[in-house]
Amino acid sequence: MNTKSIILAGFALLLTGVSTPRALASVPVGDGRVQLGGFFSQGWLYGSDNNYPTADKGGTWDFREMAVNASTTVGSHLRIGGQVFAQRLGELGRDKVILDWAVADYNVSPVFGIRAGRVKYPKGLYGEALDLDIVRPFVFLPGSVYSPVMRDFSASFNGGMAYGSIDAGKGSFDYKVFGGRIPMSPDQGVAEFYNNAGFYTAPGATALSMDSVLGGQLTWNTPVSGLKLVYSFSQFTNLATDGPFVAYPAANLHSNIHHFTWNTISAEYSWGNWVFAGEWQRTDSGLRYSAPPVLATVDGPVGWDGWYLSAARRLNDKFEVGAYYGDLKNRFGSANGGSRNYQHDWALSLRFDYSEHVLFKIEGHYIDGTYQTFDTARIPNPGAGLRPHTSLIAVKTTFSF
C-alpha cells in the first residue's frame, strides 16, 4: 500500500469518527469477552532549519501511526491479547506492520502476576504508552527522555515480566521486574545513533543485535493524592553492530557495548485539571569498536543526561493545553563541540477533542542545540547546512476506538 492510499484510508476512518461522535468507545465482539481497540493518526511536520526529529525541513506528511489490538480473558486469572502497529516518521518505519505487544498474562493476586510474550517495555512514566495520543496533549513526548526515533526499538521486548502491587498504609508500591531481548535490525531508528557516528559507509550499519535486556520499575503511589514517584532501571547486554568501515569498506567494523544502562527517576502529580511531570534520565555505557586489519580496538564512553519538566491543563471537555522544557546533554562530548553537545527544547501544545474518538493537536517547538540531530541517509543534516537552532511545528489528528 503506498503513502497516498494509507493517508486516504486514514482520513476515511477519521471522517467515520467525526460523523459518529457518540459511538461506543470500545468494540466488544461476540459475547463481549473479546475486546478490540486501536487508533490511526496522521500528522504533518515542518522543520524550519534542521531535519529534526526526521526529514521534515520544508514540511512532510510522512508522519502517522496506526494500531489494532484484541484481547480476551480465559478463566478467572488469565488474559491474552496482542496489538499490531505501524508507523511512518519520515523515512523511519515506512508503514511496516510490526507486532507491538502480544501477551499471556496470569494475575495470581494483586500482589503478584506474570506476563510473557512480547511485552511493553517499562521505562519512565510513559515508556509503555509512547504512541497513546489519547492520554496526553503533546504530539511528541519530551525527546530528552523519549527519543522519537527509537519508538520502533524501545517500545517492547520479547520475554517475561513479574508485576504486582503492595499496600503501604495510605499509599502503595507497584513493581515490575522483567527480562528478555529486543530484536534489532538496520531498519530501526536506533540504527541512526550508529550511522550518525560516521563509522559506516552509507546507508549505514548492516546488522544490529543484543543479547538481553533486564530491568525493573518501582512506583510509589504516595499518600498524597495524585502524586506518584517512579524509579526505572534497565540494562542491555552486548549491544553490537556490524557494517562496512567508512574509511576502508572492504573491512567490517564491529562495535560492541557490553552494558548499556538506563536510570530514570520520575514524578507525576495530578491536581484537579492539572498534570505536572518531571523526569531525569542518565544513560551510561562503554563502546568498543574495531575494523581489523585496518583499525585496532578503540574504547570510549557513551552516554547522555536528559530531563524535562512539563505541565498540562484540561480547560474543558474540548480543550487541553500543555507545555514542557526538555534538556539533553552529551556527557562525553568534545570540548569544542559547542551546540552539538546539547539540546534545549521548549514546546507548547494545544489539543482539541472533537469527540470521544477524534482529536486534533498542534504543537510548536523551539530547539536550541543539535545533539541527537542526526546526519544520516534517512535524516540528512549535512554539516554545512546544520543550524545551531531550529523550530518544529507538528499538527496531528487521531482516530481511536
Binding site: L24, A25, S26, P28, G32, Q35, G37, F39, A67, N69, S71, T72, T73, G75, S76, H77, R79, G81, G82, Q83, W101, A102, V103, D105, N107, S109, P110, R115, V119, K120, E128, A129, L132, I134, V135, S165, D167, S225, G226, S270, G272, N273, R314
Partner: protein, 142 residues
Amino acid sequence: MKIISIRPFALLAACTLVCTAGFAAPALIGNKNVAAEKLDAATVKSIFLGKKVAWDGAGRITLAVLKGGPVAEEYFKSAVGMAASAFNNHWRRLAMTGGGTAPKSFEKEEDLRKFVAETPGAVGFVDRANADDSVAILTPAP
C-alpha cells in the same frame, strides 16, 4: 448564646450535606453471586484500578462503569482518588498496552445495573436511588 450562634452554621452544613448527597450519592453494586465477598476500601480501589482481577470465590471480576456525569465523578473521586478523565486515561493506557481488560462502559445507569444483574462477577456503581433488588448493594468496610 454560644449554641445559638453555632446553630445557623450547623444548619448550613447539614443542608450542604443533604444537597450534595442529593446531587450524587453513588452506591457500589454487584451481581448477586459476589454478595458474600469481603470488601474494604483498599480492595475496591484495587478492583477499579485493574490490580485485582478475580474474586476470592466468585470467578473473574467484570468491571462496569459510567462514562461520565456527576455520579461517576463522585464515585471515582471517593473510591479511586481520581477524576473521571484520569480514570479513563488510566484504563485507555492499560487496555492499549496489554496491561488489562477495559471496563464495560455505559451511558445510562439502568443499562449498567441490568448488565451487573445479568453478569456473574460483575461490579459497578449507580446512584443509590437507582439500585434495586436485582443487584447486591455492596458496602465496603472502611
